[in-house]
């Protein structure tokens, strides 16, 4: 297990360093805007102490912090919703595998994964904001102004992001759970005298989770990348806005910092999910590199 974590941590570090170097070299370097001495590695050194440099419009670190204060709560909310909805639907389908309910849910999930999250966001605005006026259509109330209103302005975008991801998770969870139900460990536990439900709970769930982990990681990455797009539907001042504004303004210093933070966010989330699921896998407690 310790090796597993070390290897994964190494991968995460390598991802961040490679991204920093690529971002530095690929995002050109407009002279004068937040230029640091010492080239790419000088920039890396500054990053290590939390110094992102600054541009005409102020400190890049502050701008990133402001964007993340929107993006991180948004993607966390979306992931929670996706896991809850997707897991629930997948569970319901797996417990009735082969039944009409199972087929209906499967068909709905197939349609769900085909829906672009930003379009779902537009539909949600039309229904819940423009017509029913239940929730704000656009904009963000800062956390320090009103926490409840801040959450309210993230609810529809989170739902839009969660929709397609929940459909994909439902699909995968259904497969993993129905496979686990018929797996050898569960059968063996039943032969030892456990009833089907207990055998599944104690041995099957863990197996399903291990199978599901990489796919959950992929969906989490999709939610984070999707949030860059969905933010635009709701005019949220998140990381995506920051990056897109930097592209338009040709502000390379902000662009490379924003992209680095985006990749770090994705790689870090996938790392946490993999390690979390890895702790459920008894094979990884063996003291060998994977």
């Amino acid at each position: 297990m310790i090796w597993f974590v070390i290897v994964r941590l190494g991968q995460l570090l390598a991802t961040v360093i490679v991204t920093a170097l690529l971002a530095y070299w690929l995002c050109g370097s407009t002279p004068g805007t937040g230029e640091v001495t010492g080239g790419a590695f000088g920039w890396l050194g500054h990053l290590l102490v939390g110094d992102f440099g600054s541009t005409a419009s102020g400190s890049i670190g502050n701008a990133l912090g402001g964007g993340l204060a929107v993006t991180i709560p948004l993607v966390l909310l979306a992931m929670l919703l996706a896991a809850a909805i997707g897991g629930g639907v997948g569970w319901a389908a797996a417990m009735r595998s082969g039944s009409p309910t199972d087929r209906t849910l499967g068909a709905l999930a197939a349609i769900g994964v085909a829906i672009p999250s930003f379009w779902l966001g537009m539909l949600l605005v039309v229904v819940f904001a423009s017509s029913l006026h239940w929730l704000p259509a656009a904009g963000f109330v800062p956390w320090q102004a009103n926490v409840l209103q801040a959450i309210a302005s993230l609810l529809l975008p989170a739902l839009a992001l969660a929709g397609p991801a929940a459909a994909a998770i439902a699909f995968d969870a259904r497969t993993a759970l129905s496979r686990a139900r018929l797996s050898l460990p569960v059968e063996a536990a039943q032969l030892r005298g456990l009833d089907a439900a207990a055998a599944f709970r104690q041995h099957g769930l863990r197996l399903a989770l291990i199978e599901l982990a990489p796919r959950l990681g992929r969906q989490a990455a999709a939610i984070i990348a999707g949030s860059m797009i969905v933010e635009n539907v709701f005019s949220l001042p998140g990381l995506g806005r920051l990056i897109l504004d930097a592209v338009i303004a040709h502000d390379d210093a902000v662009l490379r910092a924003g992209l680095l933070v985006l990749v770090l966010l994705i790689a870090g989330t996938v790392f946490l999910i993999r390690v979390g699921a890895g702790s459920a896998d008894p094979r990884l407690t063996a003291e060998t590199p994977e």
């Binding site: 991968q11 995002c27 672009p116 039309v126 129905s178 018929l182 050898l184 995506g240 996938v270």
Partner: protein, 284 residues
Amino acid sequence: MTLAMPAPSALPAAVWRIGIAVTLVLLLLAFVSVVWTPYPVGPVEVGAALQPPGGTHLFGTDQLGRDLLSLVMRGMLTSFVVAAVAVAVGAVIGVPLGLAAASWGAIADWLLSALGGYVAAVPAFAIAAILAARFGPSAGTAMVALGLSMVPAFMASTRVALYAGRRPGYAVAAQLAGALPFEIVRRYSLPAFTRAIGAEMVAQLAVGVLGEAALSFVGLGTAAPATSLGLLLHDAPLAGAGQPMLIAGPGLVLVLMVLALNITSRGLKTRNFLADPGASDAAA
């Protein structure tokens, strides 16, 4: 696993056929738009703006008075072309890398897996942002960004297809029956391999269609004079006054395209009796 499995939702033949038929109809509509659209796409006719569906304009008109059906047909063409070029880029880079990983030994495999794992953490959005900042956003930058982000998927499916196709029972049986290695590859390994890669290409086509729409929606892809489903959605007025078809039309067409492509791909993947006997209808 060796247990009898509930063949995880083997695709019914009828659904597969419908998926393929819808894909072909959408492709036809998209390519017809090259030579013919119900109304010309270019000229702006403000007097006819925001007409409801029906009447002379089947889908109605947009805020500039252009015929929405014509715009959607052109947009589908953009989607298919951008996605197809992206798939070509992804496959041309990804498949050889996957072959190399599978055949050049453990170190190459490890290095290339690390490369694939890295690219998987970089979304197409990030590559598109870099390219757009450098060269200005266009359908071309979207193609490259989407294509590069597809490389890990092609590497992975190539490796899986190779390992799965290496020693299946029927190939061993053919060898015992006296078939030459070349003949085994030609008759058994190669068809299974091409089919797996073909299925991946169709699946990635769906990913590309979604990606193209998302990128042009935020201004990192297809730009103004050209048309794309993402651009149409970007221009659709969200506030009540607008015409709901401007949001529903391009979006529903997107969903239909992606759904049809996904069904086609899943049929190719699961209804493959050679590589995966468990998924065939006979076993279900």
